[in-house]
């Protein structure tokens, strides 16, 4: 089955309206010596609705290693076949390498023509002028805030300019092992704290540690953030000048995770990826895991892995999530045809957002989340249901430096090296210092 045979062309020709205005300012953004967004050269084509210039090759870089990359490659192949005059060459690097490489390549004038990154990386890269504003593409695509969850839409902004075009939301959900549930006599995935603990007790009576807690960012860090929001807390204060994860809500969240270990619902010392691998090998029954693993568990013949929204442990909904967004790197080549083709490629890709969702993502546009193309992907339904509760990382330059301290604290507490309150408190203090020094640096 080729999922790409029936492309969505819903927005196919709407773009042209806003395109002309956009092209002028946009085409100027590529010059190495030209500061972004100051105008200059004239555009060769519309803001992305179509491309009719001479044949060009586009370099497209992303961090989609693994299954995501295979899927993206299929879509790129599809695009290349449909558009002989724009040939996209995709290069994949691990995200960690990607963020060393992309800035260096752009700085030296060897950057790609189009790229993808997460919400929380956009401000840093924008502040460093690795990527350029693309308000015009959003206009050309007729995109507006009302079509997206506010955090997704605003996450693509930095200093009142748009740098990212959202294409998906990828959030946490509850992955559970149906075989183990059957064995323990659990009829349905738990939806709240008492059901969760009840399920854990039933599993425990069968000798199964039912909810492995990872001390690493994947997935312990994401689990903590979800719990933090569920207990009414937040990572940072409203103007992102202070880390607030050491609030009562934060301490409660981390204590809850540590208790899973202390009460024997999780083994001690869970290694990297072990929470998820154990789920697939029927050693672990429940894992707060990312939607990106859905296709991976579907490949299994046994055991059967069920998918559900995260249980509400605290008083309100709260789910960690992030979003992939298209960005335009500052381009040294200053080739206006390439820039126009890159805009067209982004345009094409966002039109095929519902197909991209088949790589196990929720489409960024809320209306597409109801579309038949997406709703037929029933596995993803629990994740789409959660979208109103999804919290995204704050869009502040250098935010990863500060949040990294949180992951250190979670690890120390889950591995029993510090008490939760103490670890959270000292890491929040350090992170607040980092926020202020980053503010000085990035402005």
């Amino acid at each position: 089955m080729n999922p790409l045979d029936t492309p969505l062309t819903r927005r196919g020709f709407l773009g042209t309206v806003g395109a002309l205005g956009g092209a002028l300012a946009l085409a100027a953004c590529g010059g190495k010596s030209t500061p972004p967004g100051t105008g200059g050269a004239t555009g060769a084509a519309a803001g992305g609705a179509s491309y009719s210039g001479p044949a060009v090759k586009l370099a497209f870089w992303n961090g989609w290693t693994g299954a995501d990359g295979d899927f993206a490659k299929q879509m790129v192949d599809q695009f290349n076949k449909a558009n002989p005059n724009v040939q996209v060459q995709m290069n994949v690097y691990q995200w960690a390498d990607f963020f060393q490489k992309l800035p260096a390549a752009v700085q030296s004038g060897n950057g790609p023509d189009v790229s993808v990154m997460h919400i929380d990386d956009i401000p840093t890269q924008a502040a460093q002028q690795v990527i350029v504003p693309i308000d015009e593409i959003a206009k050309a695509l007729n995109l507006s805030g009302s079509q997206f969850a506010p955090a997704v839409w605003n996450g693509g902004m930095y200093n009142d300019k748009r740098y990212g075009i959202p294409i998906d939301v990828h959030n946490l959900g509850l992955f559970y092992n149906q075989d183990l549930f059957d064995k323990a006599g659990i009829s349905a995935p738990p939806t709240n704290e008492s059901e969760y603990l009840d399920a854990l007790d039933k599993l425990k009576s069968k000798g199964i540690q039912g909810s492995w807690v990872s001390p690493f960012q994947f997935t312990g860090g994401f689990m903590f953030q979800s719990l933090l929001w569920q207990f009414g807390g937040d990572l940072y204060n409203s103007d992102n000048t202070q880390a607030t994860w050491d609030s009562d809500a934060g301490v409660k969240a981390l204590q809850w995770m540590v208790d899973l270990v202390n009460k024997g619902y999780s083994p001690k010392n869970v290694g990297q990826d072990a929470d998820y691998l154990a789920l697939k090998n029927s050693k672990n029954a429940m894992n707060w895991q990312g939607i990106w693993q859905v296709n991976d568990v579907n490949k299994l013949t046994s055991p059967k892995i069920g998918l559900a929204p995260l249980p509400k442990i605290g008083s309100q909904g709260g789910v960690w999530g992030n979003s992939h967004q298209f960005v335009l790197p500052r381009n040294g080549s200053n080739d206006s045809n390439k820039q126009a083709a890159a805009r067209y490629f982004i345009h094409w890709f966002t039109q095929h957002e519902a197909e991209w969702a088949q790589s196990a993502k929720v489409p960024a546009e809320t209306s597409l989340q109801q579309s038949p193309e997406f709703t037929k992907l029933t596995d993803l339904k629990p994740f789409a249901q959660e979208v109103p509760d999804v919290h995204f990382p704050p869009a502040v330059a250098g935010i990863g430096d500060a949040t990294g301290k949180l992951y250190d604290a979670i690890q120390a507490a889950v591995l029993g090296k510090s008490d939760p309150a103490g670890a959270l408190h000292s890491s929040a203090n350090t992170a607040t210092g980092i926020l202020s020094s980053n503010k000085k640096k990035y402005g």
Partner: protein
């Protein structure tokens, strides 16, 4: 520099030749010989190193238009408690120190034992040499992923077997001390032992057979021969192995990054991991360059002590 002195001294002891070289060349000749390397050395070592010093004097992010001058602050901050990097940096230096302290003795002694074994004539010798050397041709990424899974505390194969054998349960190989160090040192020994063993093997070829024969005539035991013939004969090789191994251990980061990822609580996060994080992920090249230079100074001091100690022992 001390290495030079050692070499010259050794030479003058061994062969009493004149110390001044004969001038058989024109004034320009040495510079012409130096030229090709000099171009590469200046282009890819001196300029970047000097640039590194310049960077370390700024709040440097090569992507931003302005690089504020901060003088020596990047250095002094590292020696002041409560600054952004000082605790993390010295913590990582300590981790590197621990790793070096524990890995170097194993990587100096065990390969020697293996080399002595493989130096005998026995059937299949080439096969066994290949066996011990093979891990080294696998890159650090592959070796680390392999061991991360083998050593996983809860789903790792090593613990599964230890459990079946009734030895122990759920040893936290990758998440708790001292196990994480045991794992990192152990896998590094597995990975690079063959490399040092080959150098020793070569050194053993170099010890004149007559010395062993003379020892046999004197009725020396194997242990006597090892102590009085093999070890002294290998001393220069050993200096070389120790120096190389210290440098390699001090630069360790791939294993820690991929196997323990710094766990528990950053206690296995090495200096190079920290420098990489600060310089390449947080885009603070100034602080990272200052850290690099401090690490380099420490390494130079250690190497000087190392040369001095080994030289003195050699003279005693």
């Amino acid at each position: 520099m001390t290495g030079t002195v050692t070499a010259e001294r050794t030479q003058s002891q061994a062969t009493p030749v004149r110390r001044r070289p004969v001038r058989g060349h024109g004034v320009a000749t040495p510079y012409l010989f130096l030229l090709p390397y000099g171009v590469l050395f200046i282009g890819f070592m001196v300029i970047p190193a000097a640039y590194g010093i310049w960077i370390s004097l700024h709040d440097y992010d090569y992507l931003l238009p302005h690089q504020p001058w901060v003088g020596l602050q990047n250095y002094t901050d590292l020696f002041k408690s409560g600054t952004r990097d000082s605790a993390d940096f010295w913590n990582s230096m300590k981790a590197t120190g621990i790793f070096t302290l524990f890995s170097v003795p194993f990587l100096v002694v065990l390969p020697l034992g293996i080399a002595l074994l493989l130096n005998r004539a026995f059937p299949g010798r080439t096969f066994f040499r290949a066996v011990f050397f093979t891990p080294y041709v696998l890159g650090v990424a592959v070796v680390s992923v392999l061991f991360r899974f083998l050593l996983d505390p809860n789903i790792g194969v090593v613990n599964t077997y230890l459990h079946h054998l009734g030895v122990a349960r759920n040893i936290p190989w990758t998440t708790q001390l001292p196990w994480a160090w045991v794992s990192l040192v152990g896998m590094t020994v597995w990975w690079t032992l063959g490399f040092n063993a080959i150098i020793y093997l070569a050194g053993l070829q170099d010890i004149p057979r007559e010395l062993y024969e003379a020892a046999d005539v004197d009725g020396a035991t194997n242990w006597d021969k090892f102590r009085h013939v093999t070890l002294p004969g290998l001393r220069p090789v050993m200096v070389f192995v120790i120096t190389l191994t210290i440098l390699a251990s001090a630069n360790m980061f791939g294993q820690a990054l991929l196997v323990t990822n710094g766990a528990p609580a950053n206690q296995t996060r090495t200096a190079i991991m920290e420098i990489g994080q600060v310089g390449l992920r947080q885009y603070r090249q100034g602080a990272a360059a200052a850290m690099s230079y401090i690490l380099a100074v420490v390494l130079i001091l250690i190497s000087l002590i190392n040369f001095r100690l080994l030289r003195n022992r050699g003279e005693a």
